[in-house]
Amino acid sequence: MLTKSFALLVISAMLPVATAALAEPTTYPLTIQNCGQEVTFTKAPERTVALGHNSAEIMFMLGLEDRMAGTAFWPNKVMPELEAANAKVEVLTVEFPTLESVLSKQPDFVAAMIVTLMGPDSKVAKREDFDNLGIATYLSPTACTTVADTDNTSGSKATSVYGIRKNLWTMDLLYQEIDDLSRVFDVQDRGQVLIEDFKMREAKLRAEFAKREDLTFLFWFSSPSPADDAYLTGGNGPSAYIADILGGSNALKTESEWPALGWEGIMATNPTVIVAAQVDRARWGLDDAQNKIDFLTSDPAVSQMEAVKAGRIAVISGASMNPSINTIYGAEQLAEQLKTFDLE
């Protein structure tokens, strides 16, 4: 199903006719509002550095790898569909990069995913560093923090990252980012296609899965060991979005986005479905999804949970529990498995 969407994307990109009517080509100089700052582009960037995997992956999806000079910060591996594109662009480091290494790529545009990578309190770079050198900058709308943004100039529905998410996370911020970037690079046709595709996939899932009061999901990110408290996801974050789109809700009613809970508490929530994350970093044994499943099915107490007995354990990528493009893929992964479960 994933490759089908990607094929759809490629084909659509090659048929400008249908989409050109919606998307006009960019006229330069182009000025956009981004996180309380005005950024002006005199032409489409040719040497972009993407700070953060989400910014990079969006650009790969827009087919922009030839106009990129480097990427940095990859806590998760790149999505399989985008591996080919990723291979064409130098990875500065998977950790936090140094400003000098970014500048040594002679960029004309720097796009960042989070304020830790580019922001007033960042130890890596501040927007002024690039502004002073005439390098255009872009900060993902999911990370906007300026005071001016309380008026929602970025159209952000969540509160600033300096605060608790008050509303349910949505893909809207990502659509905004895709839209902004496609305008900047004058690939609005591709951008529109991408957005439409995601929206379509979202709608499809919503249609397919009707709202059910009794459907709850427990999202298990990982644990240092089976005896330790497990790291779950809650609040209004991406996993809540996934649960919502599939007609259910999070088994945890806490406001915290990354609560830790002992297994007794988890059993008390009695979720309908347990969603185990496949985390690539391999720091803990339970990062691996199969280990999670083994634990769930073999532990004397935990295996008595209804969800485990009924075999309602699903696996999605850990990356999708972070607010990013990956989230919709995670929703789809979960949907596929959900369909095979007996929910009665």
């Binding site: 140094t98 400003l99 000098e100 290494s101 830790t116 309190d121 050198l133 986005e257």
Partner: protein, 346 residues
């Protein structure tokens, strides 16, 4: 034996040592300006510096000018000031608390800074108009205030003060953990951790301007009280018997320590070992009297941190390792050597 035989032969030696220290510092800063991920030729580095100072108007690529002047030089100078500041604070605390293991973070200052930072990042206090640094500064100072209160204006003796510092550290660390685990998300938790780890990456010229005032003011105040600090050698009561206004001096010096440390922590995070090890090294070089110990510590601390920062940049390719790691790796063996050499000669 005449008095002349016992005249302090130290002053000339001290001047020479300080002169050497200044030269070493200049060399370290020059190295820091020349080394980095971005390859820049030595001649360009030199021109970038003279350009920045307004001595020349050479035509070099703006990026290279910016890297050398705005990034590397400001960073090196802030590192020097931070090293000097932390060292001076270490000297003061070791004197006032009469404990060779005392260092600036013993007063709970860095724990307070972390709580302040977390309150800004996670709870959104200040609604975006308060910067992270300000939050950290306020938090650091709150911890100090708590310690001062608990230890009765720091007059109830060194042990009380140390214990109050421990209590403050525990409290503020617990607060930080509570806020992060109940309200934060993984992203914020990571942001806070990274921010606190100690790094000069976010430093620019405005930080230098602020820090140079704070550190120099602190150093001057401490030098004015150097003789009083010596009087504390045999304890508070002894100092009082020598006519030193103990309570006032303690409060002023603790205040200076809090101010300098809080400023540094709010700017670059918590950097351990400097305040602990450098005073010992300096004492080994110039002896325990504070009129010499303070400038010597400042100089050694400055050089140490500049070199440590260079190391943190070159050890891992295109990536910065936390400076606390470097200072610990250097500080620990250094400390072992000092302890070994200073062992009692019985």
């Amino acid at each position: 034996m005449s008095i002349a035989d016992h005249k302090e032969a130290g002053t000339g030696l001290l001047a020479v040592l300080l002169g050497i220290a200044m030269i070493l510092l200049a060399i370290s800063v020059a190295l820091a300006a020349a080394i980095g991920d971005y390859s820049i030729g030595i001649d360009t580095v030199f021109l970038a510096v003279t350009n920045g100072l307004g001595l020349t108007t050479a035509d070099i690529p703006p990026i290279e000018q910016s890297v050398v002047w705005d990034l590397r030089l400001s960073r090196a100078l802030v590192a020097a000031l931070a090293g000097a500041g932390l060292a001076i604070c270490g000297v003061i605390l070791q004197a006032l608390l009469r404990n060779a293991l005392a260092e600036p973070f013993v007063l709970g200052v860095s724990a307070g800074a972390s709580t302040g930072a977390v309150a800004i990042i996670v709870l959104g206090i200040g609604a975006g108009s308060l910067s992270l640094s300000m939050g950290a500064f306020v938090g650091a100072f709150s911890a100090f205030a708590m310690v001062a209160l608990l230890s009765n204006g720091a007059t109830s003796g060194p042990n009380h003060t140390i214990l109050a510092g421990v209590a403050a550290s525990q409290l503020f660390n617990a607060l930080t953990a509570y806020i992060v685990t109940t309200s934060g998300n993984a992203q914020q938790a990571r942001d806070v951790m990274f921010w606190l780890l100690g790094s000069f990456g976010g430093v620019r010229w405005p930080d230098f301007q602020l820090l140079v005032i704070v550190v120099f003011l602190g150093l001057v105040i401490c030098l004015l009280m150097a003789r009083s600090l010596d009087a504390f050698t045999f304890g508070d009561e002894d100092a009082a018997a020598l006519g030193v206004p103990v309570a006032r001096i303690r409060l002023i010096l603790f205040g200076v320590t809090a101010m300098v440390t809080a400023t540094i922590v709010s700017m670059v995070g918590a950097i351990g070992f400097v305040g602990l090890v450098v005073p010992h090294a300096a004492r080994y070089l110039v002896g325990p009297l504070h009129l010499r110990l303070l400038p010597a510590s400042a100089a050694v601390g400055a050089i140490f941190l500049v070199l440590a920062d260079i190391a943190s940049r070159v050890v891992a390719d295109q990536q910065t390792i936390p400076i606390g790691v470097v200072t610990a790796m250097v500080g620990v063996p250094f400390f072992a050597i000092i302890l070994y050499r200073a062992r009692p000669q019985q």
